[in-house]
């Protein structure tokens, strides 16, 4: 493991310290925690607070999306480990400005349970808290007999949509309704060229040969659904877009937003080339996305690879929400 770190056990506190001291105009660290709240207090007044978070290792998520027009606070757990309820609870308190707090949680059993416990704590304080569990990763079966689909890069789009609504003073109930309406329209699928190395583990979660890739990995280097020889970007596009098509049944009359998300070690050069191939494939179906974003948004430490997210814009207002101006580090 070759990483620019100090003691692996100190990765999260040092990272959070570096982040808030580099960007005091956006973030303030909540005392005694590794949770961060928007430093522009005024921009939260009279609005529903939005809190997200999860294990660390997904930078710039989630703190990079804290700021006017997007999240109110983000909680950073240990690497790839859900934050604890007490930390989430502190973030909820900091995000609450009397209109209640909405939690955006990724569907991992740890996250779901810890955010639930935090909600229980906030209940005791009479802070009204509601939440959505994002499960956009179509790589895994969605069934009653599994944990359900994972929450991955599409979560960032949920942050953006709800952030715009909250900034425009939507109520907690309205935000909950919006989140539920948006949720089934966001779907993601990933491919990995290499796995992530958790600093404290010291070696990658799995190993791929020099010419192998794996489809359907999660953002914690969870193994995916198929391992193959490396293909061209065009061939990867076919596989990933095909999987998404069998969920969306892409139609030229409909509007879509598209997010190409780098996993941490994959350069923008490759992400742009992949975007070119996706846009070509869509153009062949007479589709041009109404909104596109390409870059590292929900990473997996130093994993190489990328994910492709589509978001069907079933409501015209959602495009406005995506284009709504924000002041954050990373959107």
């Amino acid at each position: 493991m070759k990483k620019i770190i100090n003691n692996p056990a100190d990765v999260v506190p040092e990272m959070v310290d570096g982040l808030v001291r580099s960007y005091p105009q956006y973030l303030r660290q909540i005392d005694g925690t590794t949770a961060m709240v928007r430093s522009d207090e005024d921009s939260m007044a009279g609005k529903v607070g939005l809190v997200s978070g999860g294990g660390s290792g997904h930078e710039p998520a989630h703190a990079g999306f804290v700021g006017k027009g997007m999240l109110s606070a983000a909680v950073a757990g240990q690497v790839f480990t859900s934050p604890t309820p007490d930390q989430i609870y502190e973030a909820i308190k900091a995000a609450d400005h009397g209109k209640g707090v909405f939690l955006i949680v990724k569907n991992y059993s740890g996250d779901v349970m810890n955010f639930d416990m935090a909600k229980d704590l906030a209940d005791l304080d009479d802070i009204e808290v509601k939440s959505i569990v994002v499960d956009d990763d179509i790589a895994v079966e969605d069934s009653l007999y599994t944990q359900g689909r994972r929450g991955v890069a599409g979560t960032v789009l949920m942050h953006k949509i709800l952030g715009a609504a909250a900034d425009q003073r939507a109520s907690l109930d309205e935000i909950e309704a919006l989140a539920q309406k948006v949720l089934p329209n966001i779907k993601t699928i990933a491919v990995a060229l290499s796995a992530a190395t958790v600093p404290e583990a010291g070696k990658p979660g799995f190993t791929l040969a020099d010419d192998e890739i794996e489809y359907g990995v999660g953002i914690h280097s969870e193994p995916g659904y198929r391992r193959e020889k490396i293909k061209t970007s065009k061939a990867l596009t076919e596989e990933l877009l095909g999987k998404l098509d069998s969920e969306f049944h892409f139609e030229s009359g409909k509007k879509y937003a598209m997010l190409v998300n780098g996993m941490g070690a994959t350069p923008l050069m490759e992400q742009y080339i992949f975007s070119h191939d996706v846009l070509d494939a869509l153009a062949a179906k007479n589709i041009t996305p109404s909104f596109t974003k390409v870059g590292n948004y929900m990473t997996s430490i130093d994993m190489a690879g990328l994910s492709l997210t589509f978001f069907e814009l079933a409501d015209d207002q959602w495009l406005d929400y995506l284009n709504y101006p924000v002041e954050t580090i990373a959107w």
């Binding site: 294990g55 757990g77 240990q78 690497v79 790839f80 480990t81 859900s82 934050p83 604890t84 309820p85 007490d86 930390q87 991992y108 059993s109 740890g110 349970m113 810890n114 639930d116 416990m117 790589a139 895994v140 079966e141 007999y145 599994t146 944990q147 994972r150 958790v198 404290e200 583990a201 979660g205 999660g218 914690h220 280097s221 969870e222 193994p223």
Partner: protein, 194 residues
């Protein structure tokens, strides 16, 4: 006899095992998880040990509650809320009884409620369920523990991270079941059952 002192001994023994088996637990969590179960548990149990060491002659409820709070605020991930809830439920129950069977039954109920897993889902519930029964029946021994842990290997996971692997989760021990096995072994060695 379960009381503040023997419970502390139980948890100190558990902490020592976790510290020793930290890397092994993370190794188990690698093929079917995210390689952090050892780190998570070690972080939590170090905090438990430190917190308990600060208590002067605590009662059973205080030991369990202190343990629960340390686990809840230090472990994170899936195992944090699960172990945390287990000890929180034991803390509540210990106000009425010091019967280990009843306490562990409450703990298991808490785990089930928090995580929604059932027997056969390849989670710690698969170890807790038979071993709580064994405690009640006065039949807890290392062989029973090993059997319960090893029985998770062939299962296909339906809860937790391992469930994303589907059929490929079979053939691997469940890490949370292994750490739960250590908890029951510590119980044996703490002499609480005597």
């Amino acid at each position: 006899m379960l009381n503040g002192a023997t419970a502390t001994k139980w948890l100190d023994l558990f902490a020592a095992t976790i510290e020793e088996k930290k890397d092994y637990l993370s190794e188990l969590d690698t093929p079917i998880g995210d390689a952090d179960h050892g780190g998570n548990m070690a972080r939590g149990l170090t905090a438990v040990k430190e917190a308990l060491a600060k208590l002067a002659d605590p009662d059973l409820t205080t030991v369990f509650k202190t343990t629960a709070m340390a686990l809840i605020s230090k472990v994170g991930g899936a195992s944090g809320p699960l172990y945390g809830t287990a000890f929180l439920e034991m803390a509540k129950k210990s106000k009425d009884t010091d019967d280990l069977g009843e306490l562990l039954t409450a703990a298991l109920a808490g785990i089930e409620k928090r995580g929604g897993a059932k027997v056969g889902d390849k989670t710690m519930v698969d170890v807790w369920t038979p071993l709580v029964q064994a405690v009640k029946d006065g039949k807890l021994d290392q062989a029973a523990i090993d059997d319960a842990v090893n029985a998770t290997a062939p299962l296909v996971a339906h809860k937790g991270r391992a469930s994303y692997l589907g059929e490929r989760s079979a053939g691997h021990l469940d890490p949370g079941s292994m750490s739960s096995g250590y908890l029951f072994s510590a119980l044996l060695n703490a002499g609480v059952l005597a």
